[in-house]
Amino acid sequence: MEMVNITINGQKISAPAGITILKAAQQAGIDIPTLCNHPALSPTGACRVCVVEVEGQRTLITACTFPITDGLVIQTESPQVVKARKFILDMLFSERNHFCMYCQMSGDCELQNLGYRYGIDHWVFPTYTKGFPVDATRKYFLMEHNRCVLCGRCERACGTLVANHTLGLRNRGAKSMIHADANLTFGDSSCVSCGTCLQVCPTGALCDKRSAFMGRDEQTQHVKTTCSHCSVGCAMEIVTRGGNVMKILGDWDGAVNGGVLCQHGRFDPLYDERTRITSPLIRQKGKLVPANWDEALQVVAKRLGKADAKSIGVLASSNVTNEALYLLDKLFSKEMKVANVGLLNRAAPRLFEKPQGSLADIEKSDVILVVGADPVKDQPVASFLVKRTVDRGGRLIVVDGEDNGLAPFAYMHLPMADTGKAVEIAGRANNPVILYGTGAPEKTVNALKKLQGKAAFVALEQGTNTRAAVAFGFANGFKPSAVKTLFLLLGEQDGIGVEALEGIGKGAFIVVQASFASPLTEQADVVLPMAIWSERSGSLTNTEGRVQKVSKAVEPEGEAKADWEIISLLAEKMDKKLGASLEELSARATQNIK
């Protein structure tokens, strides 16, 4: 890379040619204030807060858009620059309702911070003469137009990061307003409530309903973790205050998602209204009654100890950690020689022994084949990656039923029978990528194999940790008829009812390890309360085989314990020596997954 020499505030700096003044300054530790600029978004130079003086230029220059060339001499805080910034801030503060103390963002607002930095202590112009509406029609967050500075971050995030293009600008000049679709309310619009706009908004214009007015950022703790909703494995931050989860943010450093989350990852977990199980339960005289851990584990250990391995069945949800799956496999399959194990969700067909691609290949591709998978429904962030690629001119071919969520964006939509045609087209592309899921029948899968070596393949698994569960052999077929004792690791999975017990004989002894009360736990003889996503540490394996850490942000509710911890305690009760530190368990689990 060609390096050039520039001077900022008298300091000589060497930086790669063509990067912006802003980036060069940041690399050298020089702070240039910004407002409309966001590291994850392309710069537009709209707010003009980052203007700097560049020798030889007729006017002030926005640092966020100006590429550096050799010999540039830049002043970032000269009197002229400071005056221009104050002028901008004077106008921004008087443009709409920026009475900071009534805003939930007060203390965390980028506009307010700039106001303090440049001593904006009074209004130069008459302020807030026009009222704009507030749109609260969306479930999770609202749009307070009166606090909008029209920086366009939300619009860019919606268009370029999520490729949803819901947000745009309406009207012109000072009457401009962010709007959804052709001026629909946000609730009625094509908005997918991913909340990316909310996360990039510098002021209180986009306001999270749940965490509003619950504290400033400095009063909170941020814990980096991985989303447990689906198999994409988005990196995120859990924001807590006083042991309560306030909100979830996308982690801009996330390897897979790059900061983007979906509704299921960002909002739904905070709106979970299911009843938690807060203590172990044992069935006595036909009723489940609370017990302590010792009693409950004793009952399970005793039962399992007596049972014949052939009569024991294990069913696991994929919504548990690698460590739990490892211990489950170790305890039942390896130690107790239980062969009848199963997975609560279907797994995508295994095409190859080794991974043949990653989600990052999507954006490098020119043709994307989606076969028997609906990422819009099951792996939304993966669908964002696909739509982003389509925006850049990539061709999308969907081979699936009529109701596939990606069909509207597809260049070609084919039934499963025409897989051959899709494979032929993909074969002609330079960098095809194949995304396939559980909906692809065997014949189709074999047709796809023709592209081996040419295309990148990514299985879009349903569930969360399906890939790890498959690696531990949980997807090999489960025969319910022989089961007299069932260990059901339900976890926090939703949508699985009593049909999971179909075929299991009456009188079978059922142990359910679960976070929430459900018809299934009602059927159990022992219920072991499990910690949920925000309450446990460990690791998850995403659909590409990437192992990522999850971290505990708050204490478990009641007596609930982490998934792996429960199995570890059970093993201890059964005198099986499996106990180890979490780090040790993670390392062993990872070893097994690879």
Partner: protein, 637 residues
């Protein structure tokens, strides 16, 4: 129509065209561009057609566009064998029978033509063709020739060479005027570099306002990396009172197309786009027809003139946002997005439309190109003044006698345009200032009326050439009010992307409204100045950074008017209603009662032959009394 691939084919088309320009029988032309239609040309055209049919005359009736002098439209021109071309102005349907009478007789008597033309200039061919041979017929001797009409005397027509001269529906007539011969020359006899050198040598500067040397721009674009390049034509004329580009697009669309093809060949472009505002329906229609004709003749498409060069042009219609005339906003709009400017620290000749090298020139610039190629750089640079070669088209409007489109050599003194071409100020009033360069231009005061009209001199004077609007103001114009008017326009047209323009212009407008409304505060003028500086320094695009110009230039030359408004609460020009007071002069009032009858609020009272009185509480300051008073007895102060 068969395709034209050789010079022979082209000559055949030219012959056809010439027969249609000067036919062997009588030809009547009606100026049917927007200006003509607005003054009733369609009615005149229909009446002519009916009259010709009624009398069973063997006459060709056709349409042409405006030649420039819009104040005398509708214009009907008659070409008869061996007679000069005659122009009947301010035509109405009622006058049609009389004109047809003269045509039938072949003699002028009674209703007189305004001017005559003895010969027609074929600029690109460098020749003049007479309309008649032999002596001048007696009946037309006392009709002035066009070169003796004040309005046309000092004009030199290059970009508008064919406007009003040919039927804009006929490609053959354009070819007959030397059209597409330049293209033939460029494609078959010149190398792209040669063409660029020729344009550089001609000194042609972009007529869109910036005045950047066109040839240099082409060269940069040619050298830019990329297989796909674009040439673009900016027809998004949005300045109030400006219609130069519209007239060329309506009257001579082929000159733009030919210029673009030559430019594309020189640059190595594969596709062209003409961006026109959809409020110009006639321009869009005429351009579309012209493109279809050019395609049918093979001037657009593959292997043009067997040169192996492929090129085509599409029209992009704009929704009429002022900001879309700015290069990057125009390109964003062409891409199908909302027309907002982009930060362009990398020039659009390198990263333009769809991030590909794009060369944007305006209508007038493109229209000049064929003339330069055919007549040569030396000829072009001999017209005009230093560093400003060629001509510039202006739309001369406002408080001036002759309103219309004028094309003058660069460097002509401003006063020549106003007093000679424009015929001075109506009503014997005094010339005060002229606004050039559109809303983001500035005002040039009477004291600078000797200024040379060129890019550099206007810029130095605090105004700019802009695309060529020229609004003349007389002593009854309030300069603060004018600044307010333009800032009002700019506030409305600000796209809202960057803060200085979106908010700054709005705030400036509020302050100007206050000043004009009698609510000016001490310090307002200084605040306007410091805000202007902030906007100039901080705005994203050129339209934003020039937005304070109307205020800056009026402050520069008419600061006393601002002071009068703010400090003395007076409007010296008597325009700002909140600051003026109507009263009746005791000496001059004859008590005739006219004002009393005309007053819409009935606030004037008084007996016959006694001085009338205006009730100040009821007066709405409409000025009707002043207009109706024959004795100049209404005092405005």
């Amino acid at each position: 129509m068969s395709t034209i691939k050789t010079l022979e084919d082209l000559n055949k088309a030219a012959k056809r065209g010439l027969e249609s320009i000067i036919p062997s029988k009588t030809k009547i032309m009606v100026g049917m561009s927007t200006s003509g239609l607005a003054s009733g040309a369609q009615e005149v055209y229909d009446a002519l057609a009916a009259e010709i049919k009624k009398r069973k005359l063997d006459v060709v009736l056709c349409k042409t566009s405006a030649m420039g002098m819009d104040c005398i439209e509708p214009l009907v021109e008659v070409i008869q064998p061996n007679r000069p071309r005659l122009a009947y102005s301010r035509m109405t349907a009622k006058k049609v029978p009389e004109v047809i009478n003269q045509v039938a007789k072949g003699v002028v008597d009674g209703f007189k033509p305004t001017y005559r033309m003895d010969e027609e200039d074929y600029l690109c061919l460098n020749e003049k063709k007479p309309y008649f041979k032999g002596p001048l017929p007696n009946d037309v001797k006392d009709i002035p020739t066009i070169s003796n009409v004040d309005f046309y005397k000092k004009q030199v027509k290059i970009a508008t060479r064919n406007c009003g001269m040919i039927n804009f529906e006929s490609i053959d007539e354009y070819v007959a005027k030397g059209g597409y011969f330049s293209l033939y020359k460029a494609l078959t006899q010149m190398k792209p570099e040669q063409i660029i050198d020729e344009i550089i040598a001609s000194g042609l500067r972009g007529r869109g306002g910036g005045g950047f040397p066109a040839g240099v721009k082409w060269q940069t674009c040619r050298r830019a990396h990329g297989d796909i390049k674009y040439v673009l034509c900016n027809g998004d004329e949005g300045d109030p009172g400006a219609y130069m580009d519209r007239s060329v697009m309506e009257g001579d669309p082929h000159s733009i197309i030919e210029g673009m093809i030559i430019g594309a060949f020189a640059i190595g472009a594969t596709d062209g786009f003409i961006y026109v505002r959809n409020e110009y329906p006639l321009a869009v229609a005429n351009l579309q027809r012209a493109l279809d004709q050019a395609r049918a003749y093979g001037f657009l498409g593959n292997n043009i003139f067997n040169s192996g060069f492929n090129f085509d042009i599409k029209i992009g219609k704009g929704a009429g946002a002022f900001v879309c005339g700015e290069s990057t906003a125009l390109m964003t709009s062409l891409e199908g997005k909302a027309g907002e400017p982009r930060a362009k620290y990398i020039h659009t000749v390198e990263y333009g439309l769809w991030n590909r090298p794009s060369n944007l020139n305006n209508v007038e610039t493109w229209a000049n190109v064929p003339a330069i190629i055919s007549r040569g750089a030396k000829w072009f640079s001999s017209i005009g003044c230093k560093n400003n070669s060629g001509t510039k088209v202006f739309s001369l409007v406002g408080k001036v006698n002759n309103i219309g489109l004028v094309e003058v050599p660069m460097g002509i003194p401003l006063k020549d345009i106003i007093y000679e071409i424009g015929g001075g100020i109506p009503g014997g009033k005094k010339f005060k200032a002229v606004q050039t360069g559109g809303p983001s231009g500035g005002c040039i005061p009477k004291s600078l009326e000797d200024i040379s009209v060129d890019f550099d001199a206007l810029w130095e004077a605090g105004s700019m050439m802009g695309s060529g609007g020229m609004i003349v103001m007389d002593e009854t114009t309030c300069m603060v009010d004018i600044a307010r008017y333009f800032i009002d326009f700019l506030e409305f047209e600000s796209c809202g992307k960057c803060v200085p323009c979106r908010e700054g212009v709005m705030r400036m407008n509020e302050i100007l409204h206050d000043i004009c409304g009698g609510k000016g505060r001490p310090g307002d003028i200084e605040l306007l100045e410091s805000m202007s500086k902030g906007i100039v320094d901080g705005a994203l695009c050129a339209l934003g950074s020039t937005a304070p110009n109307p205020v800056l230039s009026t402050l520069k030359y008419f600061r006393d008017e601002y002071t009068a408004h703010v400090r003395d609460k007076k409007c010296p020009a008597g325009v700002c209603k909140a600051l003026i007071r109507f009263s009746v002069s005791d000496e001059k009032c004859t008590g005739c009662g006219v004002c009393l009858k005309k007053c819409p609020t009935e606030c004037i009272s008084g007996e016959k032959k006694k001085t009338h009185v205006i009730d100040q509480t009821e007066c709405i300051k409409c000025g009707v009394c002043k207009e109706s008073c024959k004795f100049d007895a209404i005092i405005v102060e």
